[in-house]
């Protein structure tokens, strides 16, 4: 899966689960200010991503620091590369 496909799959999963307009899911979009996601949504997002990509995130301290889509894409791509290595 290419990085672009990974990004598209992430956007589709989040748009469906959080009932978000997919056009809002841009790299610059902030979870709180632009997408209106709260702390409870952040916990659910981890579950959605784990289920969608078969990766283990759990309570990874790196995920707590992510506040926008660009950082989330980079995190998922890194996780997938770790799995492939």
């Amino acid at each position: 899966m290419t990085d672009n496909e990974l990004i598209e799959k992430t956007n589709a999963a989040l748009a469906e689960e959080f009932e978000l307009d997919i056009t809002l899911l841009t790299p610059e979009a902030s979870f709180k200010d632009d997408l209106g996601l709260d702390s409870l949504d952040a916990v659910d997002m981890v579950i959605v991503l784990e289920q969608k990509f078969g990766i283990k995130i759990g309570k990874d301290p790196k995920i707590i620091q992510i506040t926008n889509m660009a950082d989330l894409y980079a995190y998922i791509i890194a996780k997938k590369n770790e799995l492939a290595a």
Partner: protein, 288 residues
Amino acid sequence: MSSQPKNRMPKKTFMDALPKIAAFLRELFCNAGFYTGFVLLTLLTIIVSPPVYLVLRLIGTHDSGQAVRRIIWFYGKGWVWLIARFVPFHMTMDDPQDYPQSCIVVANHLSFFDAFCLGTLPMYNLVFAVRSWPFKIPFYGPYMHRAKYLNTERMSYEDFLNQAKERLNQHMTMIIFPEGTRSTNGELGRFHSGAFKLAMETGTPIVPVSISGTDRFLPKGKLWVKPHPITITILPPADPKLFAHFGPLAHRTMSKYVRDLIAQHSTPSTTCNTDCVHLSENPIPQGE
């Protein structure tokens, strides 16, 4: 020389303007009557609160919070009676016996007066989860504090969950507007999932309530009310146990189910019955 015919606008007569004048007078009557009644109802509630509170405490059936919540419930009933004098007010629900006292009421949010519309609920031991600003309203704040309402902006989610659980254990009805704020365009917004997580964790049923028309009656940021019909639909309770098999995201599935139910029973804000005239809107030009 032949003179060219001029395009002249037809002269408006008094008779043409009559429907608009009648609609304006109707709105004026509605505002004067409603706000006078609203102020009198509020003053009356403030005056009778202390003796009613004492009676409820002395007969021993109510603790302090319960007594205040009962007074607020009477106030809500009074508001529903008042508003029905000025606009068509419709409420539908199943048999009141079908609704448990300990439940989570989830409603869409269109206007400041939505909370008052919930005076139609068959439950009376109501606790609202609201943001900070309603606690600052003169007269309301002290009642809200004494009724143990939850200020969601002043607590973490974990605190909210613990305090809401405590109130549900005491057979109170939690009222939550899952959109978090009033809609500015009459459309149903995205639901936050806290109410549904609370329902799943405590096994408490959710009672969805669909509110229609209050956004046209009093839009967000306005004071001038419009005589627009209001409809409240109190839907049957949804049991969280039926969603448990959806796993760790069961609360989200329940949230989507309840949101769909509310959306199905909401009248779009753009619809307007024939006797509803909006003076602020420009008439649509009929051709060039």
